[in-house]
């Protein structure tokens, strides 16, 4: 059914005619077969949702949430374990550092002792060598001085003989010559 209208009042006539139509076809009242199919389909969906469709979805979601929670707990446990291991390692490092420091101190003390001992030995050797050298020098000087004294005595007696014009005895004047030489040295 189409309703040609040529004016605004024509549109009103449409609604009036539609009202007349509603006497036989009421758009508000439900129809039996539509109620039947609505009930069939809705109860089908409800049964499927209750027993087939929804439980796996909810169960899977809950399992995933439980796994996430367990994972979080595991991570928390791992963090705690890691902290304990770290603390133990730090403690071991502290003990090792203390032992290392003690060993270093002992080694340093021992090295100082050995160095002092070595230095002492070397200094003692140097002293001994210096003493020996000094003794040799003293001997050489005494020897040289004794030789020089004899020559000087001969020269002095010879000179005195020429100056005095007479023979001067070396033996009788030796003490005078020695006294002179000793006073000069």
């Amino acid at each position: 059914m189409t309703l040609p209208i040529t004016s605004l009042t024509g549109m009103l006539a449409l609604s009036e005619e539609a009202s007349e139509t509603q006497e036989t076809i009421n758009p508000v009242l439900p129809v039996g077969f539509e109620i039947f199919w609505s009930a069939v389909f809705f109860f089908t969906l409800l049964a499927l949702m209750r027993y087939v469709l929804l439980p796996p979805i909810q169960q899977g979601r809950e399992e995933r949430a439980a796994r996430l929670s367990a994972g979080r707990d595991s991570v928390s446990d791992s963090d705690s374990e890691l902290a304990q291991i770290l603390a133990a390692h730090k403690e071991q490092i502290a003990v090792a550092e203390a032992e290392g420091a003690a060993i270093i101190d002992a080694a340093r003390a021992e090295a100082d002792g050995q160095r002092a001992q070595a230095v002492g030995a070397v200094e003692e050797e140097i002293t001994k060598l210096r003493s020996n050298a000094q003794a040799e020098i003293d001997v050489a000087r005494s020897t040289a001085l004794a030789g020089a004294k004899g020559s000087v005595s001969q020269l002095a007696v010879g000179a005195a003989t020429k100056v005095l014009g007479r023979s001067v005895d070396l033996a009788s004047n030796q003490s005078v010559i020695d006294s002179y030489l000793n006073s000069g040295s």
């Binding site: 004016s7 389909f41 809705f42 899977g60």
Partner: protein
Amino acid sequence: MTNVLAIFAEGEGSAVEFPPIENVVEWPAFFGGDTFYEFNKIALMGLIAVVVPTVLFLVARASSSTAPSKLRVFVESIVKFIEEQIAKPGIGHGFEPYVPLLTSLFLFIAIGNLFEVIPFFQMPMNARMANPLVLALVVWAIFIYVGFKNQGFRYFKDIVWPGHVPPALRPLVGFIEFFSVFIVRPFSHAIRLFANMLAGHMLLITFSVLIIATLGQIAASASGVVLALGFVGSLVGLIGFTAFEVGVGIIQAFVFSILAAVYIGSSLHPAH
């Protein structure tokens, strides 16, 4: 719009052809004509409204729950939305057993409403009274059953003889409450959904008819510019209201479901 109607009123043999009311309330039978199982477009929508969520949930549950697919995330989001936004606030403690019912209601209504904007159908399933009435009666039966099951006779007594009302007013308030809860509630529940969807459907029909009418009259009329404006206005209105109807369809599904949850919740937990 007023200008367009005025031009129609001028005559010149112009005509607006509105579809007959039978096109809205009567559909040809696919099979079983004139029987209690007559199957037409409205019934086909109901069938699809069952098949679509069934397929969605079955495909979604095939996905691993450890690394869920996008579809599974989408389906879980729908379920979570119904649990968190409808069941829990509407029912409160002990809402879990009613999630399948509320999920079925929400999806059945929402998908049924979305047929309004799907080509070939272009008619919301709930613009026919049968479906909202069936759903409302199901909810009505359930909340009364839940009330008597959980509260016993006290459920009925608290309604017809409310203790929180002054004694002199109890008969009047009790009568109103009885009438409201047991008689009016299922019909108001159903008509709210039905009327909203039918009104939206009629609105889209009106804009569609105006578009066709103005398009046909633009060339013939001396007031072509005005008619063109009417055509553009009607087209924009049709597009806008079509988008609006999508939102209305979802919102009406939400409203119907949350009202069902509230009714069940009021039966499940005694009034303080």
